[in-house]
């Protein structure tokens, strides 16, 4: 019996090593390929065998010295993601907090609306929103890209769930001390919600950093492209830009993976809150 479980343990653990290798292989192979000559990559794609002698830093030297556009995209993505995180956390947390801790008319209806937005596929709203952006001159602007993400329903939902677990007695105590309702939120309750802010910062940051379809519609000029849109323009069957594309792809995911290693707990909480295929 004992022997049997040891054997099972070995089998299961080896199985997970294999599964992990399959999960990590695509990213590892991309990183290794970023040191290969782009012409060779174009011809053979990603291969199992590595020709050590052909590996070089050429693609990275190229991207740092010859691809100013790439760095413009990087800057745009950084600005848009940072602003999205700050604004969406500010607004979504207030909404979630009020829905959890105040009694007011229409509260349940508004919560129902949150769920409805989560259910409605964005693609259905895309054309009217695109038209609206044209009419109000927000096409090709940062604001236009960020707008649909600012009051994020998943974030509102998450903040509400979190705020429900906060002690409402604290609010009454603060009121007796003469604190305003807004003071209660910013000075007392929001700091208590800090763990949920971390999780949502990661969810919103990732959503915005990786956002594809909406920026694809809204952004028209090359100098305003975000990283995914810019990199997608390099995805051609002719492979003439593979040096920038491969090294550039690696450099868009490395910062995220580093952040993940440091803030794993918040990543898990953030993504598990319902961003599947968002």
């Amino acid at each position: 019996m004992k022997k049997n479980t040891t054997l099972t343990k070995w089998i299961v653990n080896i199985f997970f090593v294999v599964v992990s290798l399959i999960a990590l292989f695509p990213l590892l192979s991309l990183i290794i390929s970023s040191f290969r000559p782009s012409s060779e990559l174009m011809r053979n794609g990603i291969t199992f065998s590595i020709n050590w002698s052909e590996l070089s830093l050429y693609n990275y030297i190229h991207i740092f010295t010859q691809s100013p556009a790439y760095w413009e995209w990087y800057g745009n993505s950084l600005i848009i993601s940072t602003l999205t995180i700050v604004l969406s956390l500010f607004f979504s947390s207030m909404v979630g907090y009020a829905m959890a801790l105040y009694d007011f008319k229409g509260r349940n209806f508004l919560f129902l609306c949150v769920l409805v937005i989560i259910m409605i596929p964005f693609e259905v709203l895309m054309l009217p929103l695109y038209q609206l952006m044209i009419n109000v001159n927000l096409i090709n602007t940062y604001t236009g890209v960020m707008l649909p993400l600012i009051v994020a329903p998943t974030a509102v939902f998450f903040f509400r769930q979190y705020a429900m677990g906060l002690p409402a007695e604290l609010m009454d105590a603060a009121r007796i001390d003469g604190c305003t309702e807004y003071g209660i939120y910013f000075k007392i309750m929001a700091p208590l919600m800090l763990p949920s802010f971390s999780a949502m910062a990661i969810l919103q940051g990732l959503n915005s950093w990786n956002n594809f379809l909406w920026p694809l519609l809204v952004i028209r000029s090359n100098d305003l492209f975000t990283l995914p849109i810019g990199l997608a323009t390099l995805l051609t069957p002719y492979g003439n830009n593979y040096d920038t594309l491969i090294a550039g792809s690696v450099m868009t995911i490395i910062p995220i993976i580093v952040l993940f290693i440091f803030f794993q707990r918040y990543f898990v909480a953030g993504l598990a809150s319902g961003s599947v295929k968002g």
Binding site: L27, N44, S49, F212, L227
Partner: protein
């Protein structure tokens, strides 16, 4: 409890009022008004970014929209939908949805149960390894999958099938292999997230239940069938529902492989058709009609699924 809280708060109102001589500030700070100030951003964004576009999408679907000239054309957009490209897109999206639901529900359950058992060491590492692909953007995933599915016999996928004695394949140019590429890409990216959902569900099962089942002489299979599955059911329903919705919404996987122009429309999806007609051809009325059909499709399929699984029934567990 809720009443008690409400009472407590009401008691404090006079105190707050005494301190506020300024009427405007007092009004803004009254407990009747404050919650609405807090939720105002949501009300505005719901009205402008969800309610308005939903209604507008339905209206647009009955219109022919040309620059500076809009006319109602009744059901013409919907009649035009019934064409081979639409059937192709519908089939592709549906097949994609079915395959991703199948893969992204069954495999994560198995992985999660194994990860939750005492058998596995380094749980955190394995969980992280599975989860990391979810961090990659669809474009980076597209770069990778285009390169592993290259036509050359040395490319990874051809090497793998070559190991089993098959000839190299042009993965991006066959209908079936193109579909597989999209499904692989989605499975790779979302497996770890679904494993997390199931792990969270498994951790809520009281361990005593397994112990008492063991005392009743239940084997592994019985425990899975009568303890694990019933407890996981709500999570399974949740994951399946979001996978159905996500499956019908497929677009980006196809876009990054073929840039929107797949040979013989092998990668055309419903959202792809919407994008092609509504944005690229600037035929917004027609695009909106495709959107409305997509919305109805998602609603109908999700509701049928939820009815079949009894998710609407209350108090049965």
């Amino acid at each position: 409890m809720a009443e008690l809280k409400a009472n407590n708060r009401n008691n404090t109102v006079p105190l707050g009022k005494e301190k506020k001589p300024n009427k405007v500030l007092g009004f803004l700070n009254s407990k009747k008004v404050v919650p609405y100030v807090f939720v105002l951003p949501f009300i505005v964004s719901f009205a402008v970014l969800t309610l308005y576009p939903t209604i507008q999408a339905i209206i647009m679907s009955f219109q022919r929209i040309l620059p500076g000239q809009i006319e109602f054309i009744g059901l013409q957009n919907y009649q035009r939908i019934l064409n081979p490209a639409f059937y192709k897109a519908l089939t592709n999206s549906t097949v994609y949805m079915l395959l991703t639901v199948l893969i992204l529900v069954t495999i994560p359950i198995i992985l999660a149960i194994l990860l939750d058992s005492k058998l596995v060491r380094f749980k955190t590492f394995f969980r992280s390894a599975l989860f990391i692909p979810a961090l990659t953007s669809i474009v980076v995933a597209g770069v990778i999958f285009r390169l592993v599915s290259g036509e050359s016999e040395f490319a990874v996928l051809n090497q793998i099938i070559g190991f089993f004695g098959f000839e190299p394949i042009s993965w991006q140019f066959n209908a079936w292999s193109g579909m597989l590429l999209m499904v692989f890409m989605a499975s790779w990216r979302w497996m770890g997230v679904n494993v997390l959902y199931f792990l969270a569900g498994l951790q809520s099962i009281p361990k005593e239940l397994y112990e008492s089942a063991e005392m009743d002489g239940a084997n592994m299979f019985h425990k899975f069938r009568h303890v694990t599955l019933p407890f996981l059911k709500p999570i399974i329903i949740f994951v399946t529902t979001i996978s159905i919705i996500g499956g019908f919404r497929v677009f980006e996987e196809s876009y990054v492989i073929w840039e929107g122009n797949s040979p013989g429309n092998i990668g055309l999806t419903l959202v792809g058709l919407l994008y092609q007609q509504g944005i690229q051809q600037n035929d917004m009325g027609f695009g909106a009609a495709i959107g409305v059909v997509l919305l109805l499709l998602i609603f109908i399929v999700s509701i049928i699924y939820l009815l079949l699984t009894g998710a609407f029934k209350r108090g049965d567990e």
